[in-house]
C-alpha cells in the first residue's frame, strides 16, 4: 500500500490478524489523504473496544475516552474549536449500547462531524457476547440459547431523527467503503456511517463471506433526499443495502445555530474575558 501522512510507520497493532478493522483503517487513511486533511487539524475521538483503538494507528490528534462516551466528547471538541475536523469512531456496542442516549442526542445536535461505527454484531474486546446489532438467535457464551432481543437498527433510528447523512458500508468492499467515508467527511453536518466488519475471532456467523453474500449496493435510482424511501430501505427485510441512504444538504449545523458563534467566529481558546462587560455586570447588580 502507498504511504500517506497518516501512517504511523512500524507499530504494533492490537487487532487480530484478518480483522475487518485493518480495512477500515486503510479506507479511512486513504479518504483523509484524498481530502487533503492535515493531521494537525484532525481529531479522532473514540470510546472503548477493539474498534476504538483505531485513533492509535493514525498520525493525528486523538482523544481515546470512555466506553460509550465518544459522541459528547466529539461534539464538545467541534463546539469548542470549529476549525478542527472531528471524526468519532467506535464499535457497535460502544456507540449503540453504552452510548445509546448520546447517539440519539448527537444526531439532534447535528454537529459537523463524522461518526464511523464499526459494526461486527458482537463484543470483541470482552470476548464474544451479543451486541445491540447481533441478530436474533445468535448463540454466544452468554446468550447460550441465542439472542432473544430484536436487533438495533441504527440507520432507521438515525433517519427517524432526521440525521443529516446516513450511510452503510461493508469492509469486504474496501473501495466502496473508502468512497462512502470520503462522502461522509465531506458532508457538512452530522454524518453516520455504519460499517459492517467481520470479527474473525468470535463471530463465526457474520463472516467475510456472509457480509459479501448478504449485502448489496442501493441502486443509482435511490433518491437519498427522500426520507420515506430512505426509511423503507433501512428497514427492509432480507439482504442489507449499502450506500448513502439519506442526505440533507444545506441544513444548518450546530455551529451555524450555536448562539456563542453568532457574533464571534473565534474558537473558544482564542477568546478573552471582556473586563468592561464584567464591570458593567457587577455595577448592574447594585440594583438587586
Amino acid at each position: 500500500m502507498k504511504t500517506n501522512v497518516f501512517d504511523m510507520g512500524k507499530i504494533d497493532i492490537a487487532w487480530c490478524p484478518g480483522c475487518g478493522d485493518f480495512g477500515i483503517l486503510a479506507a479511512l487513511k486513504q479518504a483523509l489523504t484524498e481530502l487533503d486533511i492535515k493531521p494537525r487539524k484532525l481529531v479522532m475521538v473514540s470510546g472503548i473496544g477493539q474498534a476504538a483503538k483505531i485513533p492509535q494507528y493514525l498520525r493525528c490528534n486523538y482523544f481515546n475516552g470512555l466506553h460509550g462516551r465518544s459522541a459528547p466528547v466529539a461534539w464538545a471538541i467541534k463546539a469548542a474549536n470549529p476549525e478542527l475536523t472531528v471524526i468519532a469512531a467506535s464499535g457497535d456496542g460502544c456507540t449503540y449500547g453504552e452510548g445509546g442516549n448520546h447517539f440519539l442526542n448527537i444526531i439532534r445536535r447535528n454537529p459537523d462531524i463524522t461518526h464511523l461505527v464499526h459494526d461486527n454484531m458482537i463484543y470483541g474486546l470482552t470476548k464474544g457476547q451479543a451486541s445491540p446489532t447481533s441478530r436474533e438467535g445468535f448463540i454466544t457464551p452468554l446468550q447460550i440459547h441465542g439472542v432473544i432481543l430484536s436487533p438495533f437498527n441504527p440507520l432507521s433510528v438515525a433517519i427517524a431523527l432526521n440525521a443529516s447523512f446516513v450511510a452503510r458500508a461493508s469492509i469486504h468492499d474496501l473501495e466502496g467503503t473508502r468512497a462512502i467515508i470520503k462522502q461522509a467527511i465531506s458532508h457538512r453536518g452530522y454524518a453516520l456511517v455504519d460499517i459492517f466488519q467481520p470479527c474473525v475471532s468470535f463471530n463465526h456467523i457474520n463472516t467475510w463471506e456472509w457480509f459479501q453474500e448478504n449485502t448489496y449496493y442501493l441502486e443509482d435510482s435511490h433518491n437519498s433526499s427522500d426520507r420515506n424511501a430512505a426509511f423503507a430501505r433501512a428497514t427492509e427485510e432480507g439482504k442489507f443495502p449499502l450506500g448513502v441512504f439519506y442526505v440533507r444538504d444545506g441544513e444548518e449545523t450546530y455551529g451555524d445555530r450555536c448562539p456563542a458563534y453568532q457574533n464571534n467566529k473565534e474558537p473558544l481558546y482564542r477568546r478573552r474575558l471582556n473586563m468592561i462587560k464584567l464591570r458593567e455586570l457587577i455595577e448592574n447588580m447594585k440594583n438587586g
Binding site: W75, L84, P259, Y269, M285, N287
Partner: protein, 569 residues
C-alpha cells in the same frame, strides 16, 4: 432600640413569595439597611407551604435566625407552618382570615386587606406589592426609595403594570405608616447607612455564576438539577454578552464528557450539578484525571440518599466528593462559606484547574445558594484569567515527564504538534501502553501534583481567642452562623477555624488540634464527615460533634445553644 428586624413571608408555592423577597430586599438595601434573606421551600411548583426569611439590620447580617419579628402569612396555613418560630414579640400582618387566632401565642396583629386594596387598583395580583409597601413603611424606609425601586423593577412591563404596582406600593405604605406612627412603631427603629446603597445584593448562586464568568469560563454543559440549576441559568443569561457556549446535556454523563472534551480543545469549561448528578459523573471525573485535563465542577449539595429532599439543604457529600472516581488521582475541593468566597473561589478554580490540570470542585449547598445579602462589589480585576496553554512544536509530547508532574498543555490545532490523550495508561506521547515500569512513573507523575497543590492550599479563617481551649471546626455554609454565634456568646478560650478548602487539607491543622483541649466539628450532616476526614488525615480524634440533618440550615439560636453546651464540656 432594636438593631434588627426579622421578617418572614409564608405561603403556597406560586403565590409570589420570591418576587416579594426580591422587592423587599432591594428596597431595604436601597434604604441603607443591611439585608440577609434565605428560603425554605417544598419540591413542588404550586401549593404546599414555603417561607422566606428576610433579616434587616443596622449592622451586616449574614445568617439565618429562627425568631420572627414580623410575619406575613399569605395563606391561612402560613402561621401554622412557622409556629415554632412565633413568639409573644411577633407582629402578624395580613388578611384577617390568614391571621390565625387559634392556640398560637403571638404579639400584635395588623390586619390589612391586601387583596381588596389590590382589587381597587385593578387586579388582585398587586396584593403582594401592597404587602411590600406595608413592610417598607414599618421598618422606616422612605416612600420615594421604595417607589423608585418598584419603578425600575417593573420597567419592562407594559399596560400600566408598572404604574399600578407603584400605586399598590403607596397604598400599602400608607397602611404601614399609620401603624408606625402609632404606639407600635417605636419597636422598629433602625439606623441607616449610606454605604450599603453602594453594595451589591447577591445570592450564593450569583456568587458562583459571577465567579465562573470572572474566572474566564466560556463553556458550560450541565443537566438541570436542584439546587445547582440556578448557576447554569445565571451564566446562560450572560452567555451572549461574554461569548459563553452553554449546552443542556442529555444527562450528567454527557455533561462531564462535554466538559472534558471542551477543555481538551481549549475551552475553559464547567459543569454544575447536585449529588445524584455527580454520582453519574464520577466515571468522567476519573477520565479527566487520567487525561490530566482541567475541570471545574460546581456541586450543590442537598440531602440524600437518592432523591432525598430535593429543595432542602445539607452537607452530606463531602466524603463522596473527596473519594469519588475509580483509581487514584489528585483533586481540589473548595467549600465557600460566604457569597464573597463563592465568587472568589469559583473564579480561582479555573486558573488552579488549568495550572495543575486537575479537577477543582466548588462544593456548596442549597442554603448558601438560595441566600442573599448585601456586600461591597467584589474586586473583579485583581486576578487575571491565565490560560496555561503552550503552542505545540512538532516534537510535542502531551505527557512529558517533568519534575513537578505538570506537562505543558497543548491543544489540537494550536502549533505543529499532535495532542494525543488516552484513558488507558499511556506513554509520554499519550499512546496506550502496558509498559509496567512506565505505568509506575505515570502514577507518580499524576500524584506528584498533590505536592504543588498543597503549596496552594487556602488556609482556614481563624476567629476567636488565640489562647483557645476549645477549637471549633466548620466548613462551607456554616461559616456566618458559627461566627455570629461566637460574637454573641463570646470567644474566651474559644477558637474557630472555618475551612473554605477541605482538600487537600491545610497541613498546619495538626498543630492547631494539638493546642486544643477539646475539638468540636459543626456539620449539616448525620455522621460528622469532616471530623472523619480530619482524623484520617491527621490521626487526631475529634471530641465533639454538632450535627443537623433534617434538611434545614443551622439557625443562630440553635447554634448558640449547641456551642454554649459544647464549650462547657
Amino acid at each position: 432600640m432594636v438593631k434588627e428586624i426579622s421578617i418572614v413571608i409564608c405561603g403556597q408555592a406560586g403565590q409570589g413569595i420570591k418576587t416579594m423577597e426580591k422587592l423587599l430586599s432591594g428596597i431595604m438595601k436601597q434604604s441603607g439597611l443591611h439585608v440577609f434573606s434565605s428560603k425554605e421551600f417544598m419540591s413542588r411548583i404550586r401549593g404546599g407551604m414555603n417561607s422566606t426569611s428576610v433579616r434587616v439590620s443596622s449592622r451586616p447580617v449574614r445568617g439565618f435566625v429562627e425568631k420572627i419579628d414580623i410575619l406575613v402569612p399569605l395563606d391561612p396555613g402560613g402561621v401554622g407552618h412557622v409556629k415554632e418560630r412565633i413568639s409573644g414579640e411577633t407582629l402578624i400582618i395580613g388578611e384577617l382570615e390568614n391571621i390565625d387566632r387559634g392556640e398560637i401565642v403571638f404579639g400584635e396583629s395588623l390586619p390589612v386587606p391586601f387583596k381588596d386594596i389590590a382589587q381597587e387598583i385593578g387586579n388582585v395580583a398587586y396584593s403582594n406589592t401592597v404587602a411590600v409597601g406595608v413592610l417598607s413603611a414599618l421598618v422606616g424606609s422612605l416612600r420615594e426609595v421604595g417607589a423608585d425601586y418598584i419603578r425600575k423593577f417593573f420597567s419592562s412591563k407594559a399596560g400600566g403594570v408598572k404604574e399600578k404596582n407603584i400605586l399598590a406600593f403607596g397604598k400599602g405604605f400608607d397602611e404601614g405608616l399609620s401603624w408606625r406612627e402609632g404606639a407600635g412603631g417605636r419597636r422598629f427603629k433602625l439606623e441607616y447607612s449610606e454605604t450599603v446603597r453602594e453594595d451589591l445584593l447577591m445570592s450564593g448562586t450569583e456568587g458562583v455564576g459571577l465567579g465562573a464568568i470572572a474566572g474566564g469560563c466560556n463553556f458550560l454543559a450541565f443537566y438541570p438539577m436542584s439546587p445547582a440549576t440556578g448557576v447554569g441559568l445565571f451564566i446562560a443569561k450572560q452567555a451572549d454578552k461574554f461569548g459563553i457556549l452553554v449546552e443542556q446535556a442529555e444527562d450528567e454523563i454527557a455533561a462531564i464528557n462535554m466538559v472534558v472534551g471542551g477543555w481538551y480543545a481549549g475551552a475553559r469549561a464547567m459543569t454544575t450539578t447536585s449529588g445524584g448528578g455527580f454520582a453519574l459523573m464520577t466515571e468522567g471525573l476519573s477520565l479527566a484525571s487520567m487525561l490530566e485535563i482541567p475541570m471545574v465542577l460546581h456541586l450543590a449539595q442537598r440531602p440524600g440518599p437518592a432523591t432525598g429532599l430535593p429543595t432542602r439543604t445539607g452537607q452530606e457529600d463531602l466524603l463522596f466528593v473527596i473519594f469519588s472516581g475509580h483509581g487514584e488521582f489528585p483533586r481540589v475541593v473548595y467549600t465557600p462559606g460566604s457569597i464573597e468566597e463563592a465568587f472568589s473561589l469559583t473564579r480561582a478554580a479555573f486558573n488552579l484547574a488549568d495550572k495543575f490540570q486537575v479537577p477543582v470542585f466548588i462544593l456548596t449547598d442549597q442554603y448558601l445558594l438560595d441566600s442573599s445579602y448585601n456586600l461591597p462589589p467584589p474586586d473583579h480585576d485583581d486576578q487575571e484569567v491565565i490560560p496555561y496553554l503552550v503552542k505545540t512544536e512538532k516534537s510535542y509530547r502531551r505527557y512529558e515527564l517533568t519534575k513537578n508532574g505538570i506537562s505543558p498543555r497543548g491543544i489540537p490545532g494550536y502549533g505543529d504538534g499532535l495532542v494525543a490523550v488516552d484513558s488507558d495508561e499511556h506513554d509520554e506521547q499519550g499512546r496506550i501502553t502496558e509498559d509496567l515500569p512506565l505505568r509506575k512513573k505515570m502514577v507518580g507523575k499524576r500524584l506528584k501534583k498533590l505536592e504543588g497543590l498543597i503549596g496552594e492550599v487556602i488556609p482556614p479563617v481563624f476567629f476567636g481567642d488565640e489562647d483557645f481551649k476549645t477549637l471549633i471546626l466548620g466548613w462551607g455554609s456554616t461559616y456566618h452562623t458559627i461566627r455570629e454565634t461566637l460574637e454573641r456568646i463570646g470567644v474566651d478560650k474559644i477558637g474557630y477555624l472555618h475551612f473554605s478548602q477541605v482538600f487537600p487539607l491545610w497541613p498546619e491543622l495538626t498543630e492547631y488540634l494539638d493546642r486544643a483541649e477539646r475539638t468540636v466539628v459543626v456539620e449539616n450532616n448525620a455522621t460528622g464527615q469532616f471530623g472523619k476526614l480530619i482524623t484520617m488525615t491527621t490521626g487526631r480524634m475529634i471530641a465533639g460533634r454538632v450535627l443537623k440533618y433534617n434538611g434545614l440550615p443551622f439557625s443562630r439560636e440553635e447554634m448558640v445553644d449547641a456551642l454554649d453546651e459544647e464549650v462547657r464540656k
